[in-house]
Amino acid sequence: MAKFIVKRVFYGLLTLFLIITATFFLIAGAPGDPIAAKVEQMPDRAQEVIRKKYGLDKPVVERYFIYMKNLITTGDFGESIIYTGKSANDVIKANAPISAKIGIIVLVLQVGIGIPLGLGTALGRGKMYDHMIRVGNVLCICTPSFVFAALLQYFLAFKLKLAPVFGWGQPKHYILPVLAYTIGGIAVYNKYMRGSTLSVINEDYIVTAKAKGCKKGRIVRKHILRNSMIPIVTMIGPAVAGIFGSSFVIERIFAIPGLGSYYVKAVSDNDYTMVLGITIFYAMLYVASLIIVDILYGIVDPRIKVAGTEK
């Protein structure tokens, strides 16, 4: 098991390195310049000073090595070019937790509601409630979260005055963004869990369990659940990485100062250090979550664990 994890971590670091390198050169090669707008009116001398301050006077390759050296030795993502005096680390530290608070609640709700719902509809396949939930599911999957956001703002906030339309800072501000963000995810987990459970129900070993004298509840608990969760585990990993800000749309609509909105703005601003810093942060989360999924997979599916340790 330890060997398996070490190997995974090594590959994870390699992936990170490739992502950083690719992002660095891509954003450096992108048209436009982060400080062009800022320094347009200044005399040439002053422009040069500012360029020197951010190291933009050096060739790209040299900048890359300086950046990597800083990153590895100090873990510093560098100072933002747009927000003077703020490092990308500060921005992440200040804003990622806000995204995470919403993201964690959303993920827990999505998984906590979607999976039991999927199991339930699969067990009652062909019944009225199964059909109804399936229709609802298609609607929820097809509707983008910003449409839900607008609908919720209109009905819950504006008409019924059950929650504030937007804003941040109090518990009640969670209600709308969490709802808008959760609905689609519930439908997705429900859909996958239903499909995976249905395929397990038709397996021969379920007949074996029945022939043994297991009652329905025991068959579900001991034989169906674990096997139908295997494909779902693969989905949850990347979703964990996503909780820190995959929803910049929701953050924008509800005026939530999360990391997602900073990320998008950094890209349009050509803010090299911010884009790189946030990209690295997301990439780390993603890679880590994939490693966790691999380990979880081993726990859920014995075939993988043993194959990994026997080597």
């Binding site: 062909g126 074996t208 297991c214 034989h223």
Partner: protein
């Protein structure tokens, strides 16, 4: 001690609702099983063998399968299992009647340890504690000749070979020492050498425990060494029943006759192509009115297509449903074997 009827099926009809129509898979089956004996149900694919035995266990899919028939009964110790609800049925399954299946590669739960799968029926039926059930599971693994049982008990099915999985299946089925073991094509998915071992194992455990065995197969070779009695099924009906000797040496129904002729014989040195029965079984969405075998039967008469044949009895245990045995039948071109007792 072969005197009590352990299991008796009367006039069993099973039909399935499908998109194409209602498939009448089993059409009036009567059979019985005595304590400790082996009954073989023989027939080609799709003749209703598996459906018949699955209905004993109540394992047919509830949504599609309908069990009907006037006075249909599946009597186990004089209790009609068809009247049992799901709760009472699950108390029978695995405890009194067990079943092993055709494909051991898919019949075991891939994410559950073999030991736990064997122990499960003991926990479910006897309320055994985890530790006791584990000891019993270990005993069962040894009983079915799994080497290194102590190590194997904590392994998963993917670490077992096909033959070992089928042994594990037998261990699961016999864990509670049931009175009836239903083996549905237990060796079809296995190598020939392993087949013999598995059949040998079932036979010896049966003798030890006096278990009644219903063996479902299309392999007549398997039946010869194993069965006490044979029921030959065709298109959802039993067409001939008798002891193994009677069926092998004195077949009365043209279908049985054809089945026997299509078995290759090692002693046969003639350079002849192996006999094969032409045609396919009838579509059971629209079952034939007369004898279902008539369209493929070389000796079919006009009446065969119009009316089902009554049973003709050739002895206390031997009977067949065929018009050829009617006194008025024209039997001039029928081989002697079918009519007289010739080896």
């Amino acid at each position: 001690m072969k005197n009590s009827k352990l299991l008796e099926i009367k006039n069993l009809h099973v039909s399935f609702t499908t998109y194409a129509g209602i498939v009448r898979a089993v059409r009036g089956v009567d059979l019985y099983l005595e304590e400790g004996e082996t009954l073989a149900i023989v027939g080609e694919s799709g003749c209703g063998k598996t459906v018949t035995v699955k209905s004993i266990m109540g394992l047919l899919p509830e949504e599609q399968a309908v069990i009907s028939g006037e006075g249909a009964q599946i009597n186990f110790h004089e209790h009609n299992l068809l009247a049992f609800d799901e709760d009472r049925m699950s108390a029978i399954r695995g405890m009194h009647i067990s079943m092993i299946f055709q494909d051991p590669m898919t019949s075991l739960n891939p994410t559950m340890k073999i030991g736990d799968q064997i122990a499960e029926s003991l926990i479910v039926h006897k309320g055994a504690s985890g530790r006791l059930a584990r000891q019993e599971a270990l005993k069962m693994l040894r009983l079915v000749n799994i080497p290194n049982a102590e190590e194997r008990i904590d392994q998963y099915p993917f670490q077992f070979s096909g033959g070992m999985r089928q042994r594990a299946m037998i261990a699961i089925a016999l864990a509670c020492d049931p009175e009836i073991l239903i083996a549905d094509e237990p060796t079809t998915a296995l190598d020939v050498t392993i087949q013999a071992q598995i059949m040998e194992l079932i036979k010896s455990l049966q003798r030890e425990r006096n278990t009644g065995v219903i063996l479902v197969t299309h392999d007549l070779g398997l039946v010869a060494s194993m069965a006490d009695r044979i029921n030959v099924m065709y298109a959802g009906q039993i067409v001939e029943r008798g002891t193994t000797d009677e069926i092998f040496y004195d077949p009365k129904h043209p279908y049985t006759f054809a089945l026997l002729r299509s078995v290759p014989k090692l002693s046969d040195h003639k350079q002849e192509a192996l006999y094969s029965l032409v045609g396919t079984p009838p579509d059971l969405i629209k079952p034939p009115v007369g004898c279902p075998f008539a369209p493929r039967c070389r000796f079919a008469m006009r009446i065969c297509r119009d009316r089902p044949a009554e049973a003709t009895h050739f002895g206390p245990s031997h009977s067949s449903y065929c018009w050829l045995h009617h006194p008025k039948a024209n039997t001039s071109d029928v081989p002697e074997t079918l009519l007289k007792e010739v080896v």
